[in-house]
């Protein structure tokens, strides 16, 4: 069965299902491989469309292994405030401090591995602060195992082969990602294949299980019979 495409920004937030508007909260994203930028792309696609600055906190290993956010690729509509730190405890401190500031559009943190500082209590604090300030908070965790956490949504994100390029057969087109929402407090977990159109800032979701493609010769005999 084909689910068709959904406008994620509108539908996933859930307009009719909840009696009250859902505040922004803490979400975790687990990239499949450390160098995969799909998680960053997904996080950026899910940020609210405002011009408020984004606080982006990185620890040293994330910066070294996965690079730094590149402004020319991200776009300049939201100013970034980068904080480069060495320890995971400092990253959590800076994120928590940033969530006290309601002027921010989002707080994004990158933590490498499973440091002891990033336990259930730390994530619970981040989630409560994020909901109190109504600022979305994303924790991108590379080379990490999804242990106990208070994050309200937890995603596992990987790159898929891109959509075909409209004009160039050998070039990759719009990026596609496989999204796996394996824990969520608000809605049923699920798996999707997302296609992201950066120029329109539009994220289309479709269920990964769908009907087989229509073969080239299917239906031709009946057409000929009808004709």
């Amino acid at each position: 069965m084909c689910m068709g495409s959904l406008r994620v920004q509108k539908r996933l937030i859930g307009q009719g299902h909840h009696p009250y508007p859902i505040a922004h909260t803490l979400s975790e994203a687990f990239p499949e491989t450390a160098t995969d930028a799909a998680a960053v792309g997904f996080v950026l696609a899910r940020l609210p469309r405002t011009n408020a600055p984004v606080l982006w906190v990185q620890d040293r290993l994330s910066r070294k292994e996965a690079g730094r956010p590149y402004l020319a690729g991200i776009g300049t509509d939201r100013p970034l405030i980068m904080v480069d730190l060495s320890r995971a405890a400092d990253v959590l401190w800076a994120m928590e401090d940033g969530l006290r500031c309601k002027a921010l559009g989002a707080v994004i943190g990158e933590v490498w591995g499973d440091p002891p500082a990033l336990d259930f209590t730390a994530t619970k604090r981040l989630a409560l602060r994020s909901e109190a300030a109504d600022v979305p908070c994303w924790l991108i965790r590379r080379a990490a195992s999804p242990d106990l956490s208070a994050a309200r949504e937890r995603w596992r994100i990987a790159s898929l082969p891109a959509a075909p390029h409209p004009y160039d057969a050998q070039a990759p087109g719009l990026p596609r990602w496989s999204l796996d929402l394996f824990r969520s407090r608000r809605r049923a977990p699920g798996q999707w294949v997302a296609t992201y159109d950066g120029s329109a800032d539009r994220l289309d979701l479709s269920a990964p299980v769908r009907d087989g493609a229509v073969a080239a010769g299917d239906g031709t005999a009946r057409e000929r019979a009808a004709g």
Partner: protein, 488 residues
């Protein structure tokens, strides 16, 4: 300057020596040595002959100078304008400050008490001019106080060495029979002028005399100007931790700033230690502020870095980079300003992690990817905003491009297979090349051009790959391949 703690007993003759032209000469001598007839400036071997039990230590002029420089700052507990005078003196401009300590005589007693508590012996004098104070302190009576109308009388009896002249000029004056300053004053000005017309200030007794008699101005140029906003807290006894006093100091300072309609961007916390030293802690804010709670919070982790020594009894808090500041209110109900919260967040982060950790990337005018992005301070005004490039750029960029090992190359386009980070990637699709030439006005000669490709491997990961150089471009061997970034 000898500290009481490590000074030897006073009955042993001991001298400090420095290197002279013909072996060590005596730099300073203690009282017992001076009584034995040992004078500074003579050679150590000669003085050993006079006094066989003489003990010799080497002097540390640079250390003395540094200690005196710290003492200059410490002396600002009495008056705001202090400066080091030569190698062995301090000049304090106490105009308007003496009445705070009960008059000039009482002030000198207080100064001598405080200095002797540090183990320093001091010769003090109050005089209207720098030169007169210099002479009276060294050659005059103990703690002499000289009014502005009695300078000539008091200086007259002092020897000519009190005129701050170099040794040759003093010798010359002595040979001329002018042994006291009064004798020099009695010489007609015209003859003195004619005699010393070409001499510099150090060798000119007339100019030195004019300075001492206030006919030639000699202002006290303080080390750094006194900040306008400063609060202090005098403590009954020495303490080690200033934390309990900080909130009140911050409130008082912010109250003073508010009265003047000013805000500050720097704060200097200074503690005056009982062992004659001062310790500083400085904090800075990214925007002008006068919020006591916020300023107090910036000191949170820094107070521990104060070296308290044996404790301190005076804390001062000074506001630096004072600027005009107007209260802003952007909501009708008197609500807070969003910008203000952001500046405070940046302040907190910069205070904890250092200003270099908190930056803002901005675009710059360059085609070379690593130069297209620059780092500025988080809240700095944008000078020149570059435009985003028209071509697609990756979301992540590596600080240092990582070289890949090519397994299977094809003549055109990117390699068909390569090893990056010990994993084999097979290129399924690619876009490119985008050729970026080196910037000849910045790069060294011989820098190779780059051909960038966006490649997608078999698992769907999209990388930004570039080839450095061309085959046989005369700039090194075979071209090498690098990974420079990751696309979403």
């Amino acid at each position: 300057m000898e500290r009481q703690g490590n000074a030897p007993p006073d009955d042993i003759p001991i001298v400090l020596a420095r290197e002279g032209h013909h072996g060590p000469v005596i730099h300073a001598a203690n009282r017992a040595a001076r009584l034995n007839g040992i004078n500074p400036g003579s050679r150590v071997v000669d003085m050993r002959a006079i006094c066989p039990e003489l003990q010799v230590e080497y002097a540390d002029p640079a250390g003395d100078r540094a200690a005196l420089d710290r003492l200059v700052l410490w002396a600002r507990r009495w008056c705001p304008w202090t400066v080091r005078d030569g190698e062995s003196g301090l000049i304090l401009d106490t105009t308007g400050s003496d009445h705070l300590l009960g008059g000039e005589a009482a002030m000198l007693v207080e100064m001598e008490t405080q200095l002797s508590l540090l183990g320093l012996s001091a010769q003090l004098a109050v005089a209207p001019t720098w030169g007169a104070a210099w002479a009276l302190a060294r050659f005059g009576p103990v703690r002499s106080v000289c009014g502005s109308d009695e300078v000539g009388v008091k200086l007259g009896a002092l020897p000519v060495t009190g005129l701050r002249l170099d040794g040759e000029t003093v010798l010359l004056l002595r040979r001329l029979g002018l042994k006291t300053i009064g004798a020099v004053m009695d010489v007609p000005r015209l003859s003195l002028t004619r005699r010393f017309v070409k001499a510099g200030l150090e060798a000119n007794p007339l100019m030195r005399l004019d300075q001492a008699l206030d006919k030639l101005a000699e202002p006290v140029a303080s080390v750094d100007a006194q900040p306008r906003f400063r609060v202090q807290s005098r403590l009954a006894e020495p303490i080690f931790d200033p934390t309990p006093y900080l909130p009140e100091l911050c409130e008082n300072l912010c109250e003073a700033l508010k009265q003047a309609g000013q805000g500050c961007r720097r704060l200097h916390l200074t503690v005056y230690r009982t062992d004659g030293d001062v310790s500083h802690v400085d904090v800075a804010t990214s925007a002008t502020t006068r919020d006591p709670g916020h300023l107090h919070g910036l000191f949170r982790d820094k107070v521990e870095r104060i070296n308290p020594g044996f404790g301190f009894d005076l804390i001062t808090l000074e506001a630096g980079s004072v600027e005009e500041m107007h209260e802003r209110q952007n909501r009708l109900d008197g609500g807070s300003d969003d910008d203000l919260h952001l500046t405070r967040l940046v302040d907190r982060l910069s205070a904890k992690f250092g200003p270099h950790a908190v930056t803002r990337p901005v675009l710059r005018e360059s085609h070379v990817p690593e130069r297209a992005e620059g780092q500025v301070a988080a809240l700095a005004a944008m000078a020149v905003a570059g435009e985003a490039p028209a071509k697609e750029r990756p979301l992540r960029l590596f600080d240092h491009p990582e070289e890949v090992r090519v397994l299977y190359a094809v003549p055109e386009g990117p390699p068909a297979q390569f090893i990056w980070r010990r994993q084999t990637h097979r290129v399924a699709r690619y876009a490119g090349p985008e050729r970026i030439a080196p910037e000849w006005w910045k790069d060294r000669p011989g820098t190779r051009l780059r051909d960038y490709f966006k490649v997608e491997d078999q698992a769907g990961r999209r990388l930004w790959l570039y080839r450095e150089g061309l085959h046989e471009d005369g700039r090194g061997g075979d071209p090498r391949w690098f990974v420079h970034g990751c696309f979403a």
